[in-house]
């Protein structure tokens, strides 16, 4: 490393920490302060560390709403991801492997899913008609519908790198179409499946807008909605609000620590091919 690189590096590190780490330090410090100290909005250390007190206060707030929210968010995330991963892989597989005059149309539908903002009120109307409004399974299906395009595109480009000879060898070996997919192709999709699962679970877990529209009501609260609900309730107790932010940030943080590489790979896919 040249001297210049070390010097610029140090400057960049100082600026980087200042710009990108201090907001998180602010969240962390405010979360363990007393309400009075927190209202000063400073970065000074708390005179008394109240981690446990604030933690319990947030957990107990509104009759353990946060725990229910964690449960709901987990159910939605896990449910949607399991449906998404396998079925998006199946779609990506068929449209990659089967050239047809429909491909342009199918591709346009997929891009539409990436681009078009969902029409919320008609969706609510439809969910009501189907008795899915305000239900967790309805929310799961919504997340599948909204996350499908992105997942299919990831699977499709990965499957393009798997030689077709493998499918044909399996067909010669007597595999039925579903056996070709589940016994030969699916096991080879592990790396991209991990990526899809990570990226989509962060997206779904962090989703605020869709639960806000499609999942109103106290019993259906999700983690992101607790923030919204507590924002008004805790307006004089900044410490508790920030403790809540801290708790909501933990699951993505854990994911990030363990799977940084795969998440980055999934989110930056497309940079190369455009």
């Amino acid at each position: 490393m040249k001297r210049q690189q070390v010097i610029i590096g140090i400057v960049a590190l100082v600026l980087g920490v200042l710009l990108f780490a201090t907001p998180f330090m602010f969240i962390g410090i405010t979360a363990v302060k007393s309400a009075a100290e927190a209202s000063h909005l400073g970065l000074s250390l708390p005179s008394k560390w109240l981690f446990w007190e604030n933690f319990m206060a947030v957990i107990k707030a509104r009759n353990y709403m946060l725990l229910l929210a964690y449960f709901n968010s987990t159910v939605i995330t896990v449910g949607a991801i399991s449906l998404l991963a396998v079925s998006a892989a199946m779609i990506g597989y068929v449209i990659q492997r089967r050239p047809s005059k429909w491909n342009g149309f199918i591709y346009a539908l997929i891009l539409a899913g990436l681009m078009i903002p969902p029409a919320v009120v008609p969706t609510i109307w439809l969910l009501k008609e189907l008795h899915l409004f305000k239900t967790l399974h309805g929310m799961i299906l919504i997340q599948v519908a909204y996350g499908l395009s992105f997942s299919v595109l990831l699977f499709r480009s990965f499957i393009a790198s798997i030689p077709r000879d493998l499918d044909e060898a399996a067909i010669i070996d007597g595999a039925k179409p579903w056996q070709v997919f589940f016994k030969v192709i699916l096991p080879l999709l592990k790396p991209i499946t991990i990526t899809v699962v990570l990226v989509q679970s962060v997206t779904i877990f962090n989703d605020f807008t869709n639960p806000l529209y499609y999942l109103p009501g106290k019993d259906n609260v999700t983690v992101q909605l607790t923030l919204y609900n507590f924002q008004s309730q805790f307006s004089s107790q900044m410490n508790l609000l920030f403790m809540n932010i801290l708790l909501v940030t933990i699951p993505p943080l854990i994911m990030f620590i363990f799977f940084n590489k795969q998440i980055v790979k999934g989110m930056t896919a497309g940079a190369v091919k455009g």
Partner: protein
């Protein structure tokens, strides 16, 4: 080809059906509902009245203008900053992988959480930013309180949160540029600045397309950050179409809300589709 037998279309069915029912059907029926007065149970056809109302209410027009401004500002800022950061963070600096991690992390954090935290950080008197600026002798602006500034303050936070993703996309793009080009340019006597504008910028184009398209789409549709920080205020100064849609929905104006949805849809299509087309055509010329 026997692909009809080997790759059956029923593979598309399970989630294709979900997609059809929960995404495509509402999108298509929205066009009809936007022409009605609607309470979810009964519809009354009123033609283009929702649209004319939309374009007569000044605050609704503000929403549409703000949407474009927000999308443009954030995507331009993200692509320029992202490229510069990517070049910086691939130059072999001390601690560059730590820095990459640091600026990417906000991408994964709850937008609402970030929004709430920055509302306090941007507090005009006690917020960290203005306190920091006062040490430098600068009197900081009223960020979210100032109606002329509120939208841009939210955009700033959006850039802060999203620039890490743009940077990583650019880093992936830079990795595909062969070092041969830079060596050839050095032999031709190019300066670092010339190399950046004549080699890096044109060759990193696919990444630029991705960054601009992605951030434009998400910027135009942006809702949660704005809602967490300003709720469209002060007044209607930071309202965007997505927040207008929500407000009209809350107020029970379902037809009007849906018209807003269609306008947002048309706006996204009018901006993104020609842009992608233009991007792709330029690519053929290369």
């Amino acid at each position: 080809m026997k692909s009809s037998r080997s790759y059956p279309y029923w593979f598309i069915l399970p989630s294709g059906l979900i997609y059809l029912v929960l995404f495509l059907v509402p999108t298509v029926t929205a066009f009809w509902f936007s022409l009605t007065q609607w309470d979810l149970f009964e519809t009354r056809f009123i033609g283009l009245e929702n649209y004319s109302q939309f374009f007569q209410e000044p605050f609704l027009i503000t929403g549409a203008v703000n949407t474009v401004v927000f999308g443009a500002v954030t995507s331009i800022a993200k692509s320029i900053l992202g490229l510069l950061l990517a070049v910086l963070l691939t130059s072999g600096l001390l601690g560059q992988s730590f820095l990459r991690t640091l600026i990417f992390f906000p991408v994964l954090v709850s937008t609402v959480g970030i929004g709430i935290a920055f509302t306090e950080i941007m507090h005009p008197a006690r917020g960290m930013i203005n306190v920091g600026l006062s040490y430098l002798g600068i009197h900081g602006p009223a960020w979210l309180i100032d109606p002329h500034l509120a939208l841009f303050s939210v955009a700033l936070v959006d850039v802060w949160k999203g620039v890490g993703l743009a940077t990583l996309i650019y880093i992936a793009g830079l990795a595909t540029i062969s070092s041969d080009y830079y060596e050839a340019a050095r032999i031709d006597g190019a300066t670092k600045l010339q190399m950046f504008f004549r080699i890096t910028v044109p060759l990193v184009r696919p990444a630029t397309v991705t960054v601009v398209t992605l951030s434009l789409i998400s910027g135009l549709r942006s809702f949660d950050l704005i809602w967490a920080m300003t709720k469209g205020g002060p007044g209607f100064s930071s309202d965007v179409l997505a927040s207008v849609i929500y407000k009209q929905y809350q107020a029970g104006f379902y037809g009007l809300s849906t018209a807003g949805n269609i306008i947002l849809f048309v706006l996204v299509a009018l901006i993104v589709v020609p842009l992608t087309y233009w991007f792709n055509r330029r690519e053929v010329d290369l």
